[in-house]
Every structure is written in C-alpha cells, then in structure tokens.
Symmetry: C2
Subunit: 392 residues, 2 copies
C-alpha cells in the first residue's frame, strides 16, 4: 500500500493538470558555474537565438560616447559562443570574492538566466546574482551564509501616527536575542530612491554582513532597523495594500527630507517600546544610502543629541544650508560622522563639500572614498566598514 | 546649493557607471492590466518575436493525448497578437477573485513578464503572479493585503539537536502579538516536495490569509510555524550555507517521513520556549500539503495525544499500514482530522482510501473534495477552510 501511495504521489506531481507547481529539475544545466580556479562559466540553452550577450558587474567596464556628456564608463558586456544549442562564456580571469549581478541579452531582449534561481529586485528590474568567497577578508566573505550563528529577520508593522496608517519595517535581531535578556543598541539603516524596506536585507545583505561581523568579533551585537523611507508608502510592493503597485523611481522616492524627518520619531518610539533596546545618543546610530544618506544627514541635524553615530553613503546634505543645525548637532558631540562615496559617483562633489565644510568648522568627520560609482557594491562595503565603528 | 545637490543626485542615479541599480520606470507599459470589467489584458513588447504565447492557470484547460496515459488536461495557452511591436491578449471573460500565475513563451522559450515585478519561485522556476479581489468572499479576497491589522513574519533559526545544525523557520505572529501578554495556540504548517520554509508564506499567502481571517473574526488569533520539511537542508536556497544551492525536486524532498517525525519535537520545543505559546493537545495543530500532508499524517500518529487538529492537503498516509498507531491517535480524541483533495488529483485515491478506513473504524474524519489537481490554488483554499475550524 505504501509503495502504491508513493507512486501515485509521483504520478500526481509529474503529471497533474493545471500544475501551478513548477516541476522537474529546471533547465538541467549549471549556470553560473564557479570553476576550481575561480573563473566563472555562464551557460544558456537556446538553439534558435542569433546573439546572446552577458552583462555583468564583473566584466571590464566599457567606454562609450554619450552625446553632450563626453566619454563615460558603462557596465561591461561579453558575447556567448554557441555549440549544439548551448551558449557559453567563461571569464578570462578568476573573480575576487564578491556578490555579482548579471543578465543575458538574447537577440536584443533582456533575459534572466533560467538556470539560476538567485535574483534580486531593484525597483522594477530583476537581475541574477551569485556570491563568491574566494578568500577570507574578501568583501564576498561577509555576504555569504557562513556557518555562524544567525540573527532573526522580521517583517513587522507599526501604527504610524505621523503617516496615519500602518507601515512595515524590516528588523534584524542579532543571534541569541530571543534567549537573552540583554538590551542592544540600534542602527537605523535607510534605503535610497526606488527602494523599500526590503532593499537593505536583500540587495544589501545586511543579515549576512551583521551575522559574520558579530561572529568574528568585528562588530558588537546590535539591532538593525530598516524602515520604508517613502513615508506615503506603507510597504514594499508585494505587501502593499494598493494591488499591483509597480515600483518606479518616481513612486518610490521623496526628494524632500521632511516627511522622513517627521516619521523618524514614530519609528524610534515603536522600536524602543517593542524590542529590548539600549536608548540614548550613544546607543543610537543612523545611516543610509543615496536618498537615505540625505535622510540620515537631515534626521541627525534635526534631532541633535539623540543620535551618536551618523553614516552617509553616497548621499549627504549641505553644510552651508544647515549651519545653525549642524553647530547644534556637533555641540552635542556625536561619536562618528562618516561620509562614504565612490570616486566615480556624481555625488562625490557634494560629499566632499560636506567633508570640507566640517573640516573648516572643526567638526570631527570621517571621509572614505572607494572606487566605483553609485552602486550597491559600494553600499555593502560601506555598511561593513561603518558597522565595525559603532558603539566603540 | 540644495538644488545643485539634487540635480547631481539625479545625474548620478541616471547615468552612473556600473549601475547595479536598475533604473527608470521599467518597460513603460502596463501588464497585466485588470480592466474595469475584471477581464485582464497582458502586454509584451518585442517587435522581433515571431510567436508570443501566454500560459496561465486562468485560461481554459486544454486536453492533450499523453502516450500510454490517454487524454489529460494541461494548463491553457493563448496566443498574443502583435501591433506596432506590442503583443496583446485580453481574457474573454472576467476573472473571479483569485491569485493567478502565468508566463510567456516567446519563439518557443519561456519568458517572464518584464512589466510585472510580482513573481513566485516554485522549486527552480519563477512565475509571474497577480491577485484579483473581484468581490468579497472570493478566494482572492483572502490573498490580498487588505487594510486590516497585519501580523509579523519572522525568519528565525533554531539549533536542531536532531539534525546537528541550525535550521531556519518562518513564523507568523498574529497582529498585536508584540504588545500583548497573551499566549496563542500554534499551527505547524508543512510544505511539499520541492518546497522550503518560504513556500507557505510566499506561494501559500499564509500571512495574508491569517491577517484577513483573524480581522474578520473567522479564525482565532494563532501562531503559524512553517518549518523546512527536508531535515538534511538547513534552509531555503538563498540563505543556505551551501553556496549556489539550486533547488530541485530531488534535493528538496524526503520520501521517508521518519526524519521529519524525529525533527518535529525539536521544532516544537524551540517554538514553545521562544514564543508565547499555549501548549497541550488542543492548542496544537499540524497541517501540510502533499509531502507535508504525509508528514502531518505520520507526525500526528507518532505522537498521539499531543496534536488536537490534523490537516492533510493533497497528501495522506495509509490507514491499514498504521492500524495500531491510528487506534492510539483516535483514542486520544483529536478534535479534527481533516482531509482535503482535488477531484483531478492523483492523490485522491489514497486520500479517499484513508477517509473510508476512518469511516469503517468509526474515527471522526472530515473529507473535503475540491475541483482541480495537485496545485497551490487548492492548498490556499484548504488552509483558508482549515484555519477557520481550529481552536473551536
């Protein structure tokens, strides 16, 4: 009887009518494949295609002439070569440990890799990803799910008096939170234009970075709160009450910083009354990327003496426009005022202007310049650096 | 100064080199579009394509001849029609409220809808989804993020003494859990072959179903625990310590029920020591789909007197093979022994055989037969029905 039930189950799984379940082993090929020498091979099956290209942030950048702007660097591309219907490309060199993203272009149309289930959504676009940990200390090492104690990732709703409706937060609780009676300091971590409360945990790998830094003793255990920074939106699209809400740059950003400044006390109040939190200036940090960097700038100067650590990743505000407020903020002695930006980022001008203003005024300020532009690859690195500087 | 910072930000966002951020408003067309009369229009831009087909669980099923098996019903397909490079299809009739899934086939290759950010992964395959709530009481009504209090969805790791490593759980906590001091009964909800601890919350819409049923007073507030039912796997692929772990039917199932029977006490112990839980037989329920239905069958008969409510969705065990254990289980008087199956599901034979066995022995057993086969559409409905029968 048991055997016949098992075979019936198999029959049902394999042949069921209307199967919403995707069945079978996928495409049956491996792509991407990380080779023994840390080169990576990509494969795509399509005997009918005429051209298959790969775009990826691991390929050498290409220079293109942009009318009115001169020569600019854009993401590298490579052509796949076909044999027996399978298109293949292998990187020329081993890749360093990182989180990489890529997609195919098949006969001119963007196409995800059907052999790779790992994808990230950024605004309205999905892109395949893969993670490499070539050696300890590489950026990629911190983005992997290593064999270390894991924190909890929670999606929780708070009743925002400011917004007038319930809004969703992502909260990282460090490993052991549930069983301990300890209180923890809190980092508020804000996304950029086009993002939502999922951005930092998915594109930003916050849970993996924090798990690894804490396990290796490089960061102190902390709670990380990742709110939705567009106050008129309750949440990310897949749990938005407006059905079929399609994210765009326009509907997922707020050029004005005031709504998030007004919202921040509601978020903080909810977090401090819901989780076991150490309160006070030197147990409270804020950081954000791009629009979230400007939010961090404006929230910290709006509420001087309440936030001890401020991180602005590829986004900041202006000193001269906020002279009085910045004087009050620095009079309250924040322990860290940290600016990170890429050398190829258009925001570098304003970020370095804020650094110069702080230096001129004698406000302690740390400035970190990486390679590259306005990209997640940098923001993950900035978080990894910034988190190690907290509560010390 | 502020203005120039803003324009620099825009420049950086729009033109940055190596942008990993997907920028801009996506494809600029709307697909799917739910029309005023509840028909639905699909659009796909590709001037070069020769044929574009739509496969969806809302299209009339098609009958095909399967060698050796006779005529079978398979998911319906429709052809899109091209005008000015835009391929279009509108359903002939309004669609009832439901969660629907679909994909395109472009010149013979499966393709996701680039205009729709909403997707679900099932095993290794991603499929676009959309939700309709045509009228109150429709199945789709329960799958929407309606304006009701929302529970919390948590991804938490437990140290499994049985498995010898940390494993991840998805836990739904009802709205108000964090602020109340109440204890709640627990439903353990198990996935099928190919699934993981994300399956019930993503494909199964557990949080939406529970939020809506509880808000409307149709179900009592409860905690829902969704473990990973393949004990040798620590977690879903995206947080698996084995890098680039690609899910397949084979590596994401366990034909033998014993590993999950052995694991269940570890899960229950962790849940009862971590969350505010009402314990005892009549505060404990178990249910599952397909393989998870067999797990629910075997776990409930292995630990008689500890589980008061049992749900087997499109998957069950055999009475005759478990005669003694079932006698012990029913001697301990479970309040609900519920079997749900589709009329077109191959598992119907074994499900109705278990019902007949229970009837013959005088064991109280509820049997529910829906239309359709071995599909998520049915499992969401079974959960909606089953949850309303608990703790009463």
């Amino acid at each position: 009887m048991k055997k016949s039930v098992a075979s019936l189950m198999l029959w049902a799984c394999g042949m069921s009518a209307f199967a919403q379940q995707a069945l079978g082993p996928g495409t049956g090929i491996i792509s991407p494949e990380i080779n023994a020498d840390n080169t990576v091979t990509f494969r795509y099956v399509n005997p009918k295609a005429v051209t298959v290209e790969l775009s990826g942030d691991f390929l050498p950048a290409q220079k293109v002439e942009v009318p009115g702007r001169g020569v600019m660097e854009v993401q590298g591309k490579a052509s796949l070569v076909e044999k027996d219907g399978v298109w293949t490309f292998t990187t020329a060199n081993p890749l360093p440990g990182e989180l990489y993203s890529y997609y195919f272009t098949v006969d001119g149309k963007r196409q995800l890799d059907p052999s790779n289930v790992f994808m990230n959504r950024d605004i309205a676009t999905w892109t395949n990803i893969f993670t490499m940990s070539a050696k300890e200390g590489d950026a990629g090492h911190y983005y992997m799910n290593n064999n270390v104690p894991h924190g909890t990732l929670t999606k929780i709703w708070y009743d925002s008096e400011n917004a007038g409706f319930d809004r969703r937060l992502t909260v990282y609780l460090p490993a052991g939170y549930e069983k301990s009676k300890e209180k923890y300091p809190v980092l508020y971590l804000l996304h950029g234009s086009g993002g939502d409360e999922n951005a930092w945990s998915e594109l930003g790998r916050t849970a993996q970075i924090m798990d690894n830094l804490i396990a290796e003793g490089k960061a102190k255990p902390m709670i990380v709160v990742m709110p939705n920074g567009v106050v008129r939106n309750p949440s990310a699209p897949e749990v938005n009450e407006v059905n079929m809400f399609q994210p765009t740059m326009t509907n997922s950003r707020d050029q004005d910083t005031k709504p998030m400044e007004d919202e921040f006390p509601c978020i903080k109040k909810f977090v401090e009354s819901t989780f076991r939190v150490k309160t006070g200036q030197y147990n409270t940090a804020i950081a954000g990327l791009s629009m979230g960097g400007r939010h961090s700038f404006s929230i910290s100067r709006r509420y001087p003496g309440t936030i001890g650590y401020v991180g602005m990743f590829s986004g900041a505000g202006s000193g001269p426009d906020n002279e009085k407020e910045l004087a009050a903020l620095f009079a309250a002695k924040p322990k860290l005022y940290w600016i990170g930006v890429g050398s190829a980022d258009g925001v570098k001008v304003s970020a370095s202007a804020l650094r110069d203003y702080c230096n001129e005024k004698g406000y302690p300020c740390e400035y970190y310049e990486s390679d590259g532009g306005h990209i997640w690859k940098n923001w993950r690195v900035y978080l990894t650096i910034f988190a190690q500087k907290l509560w010390k």
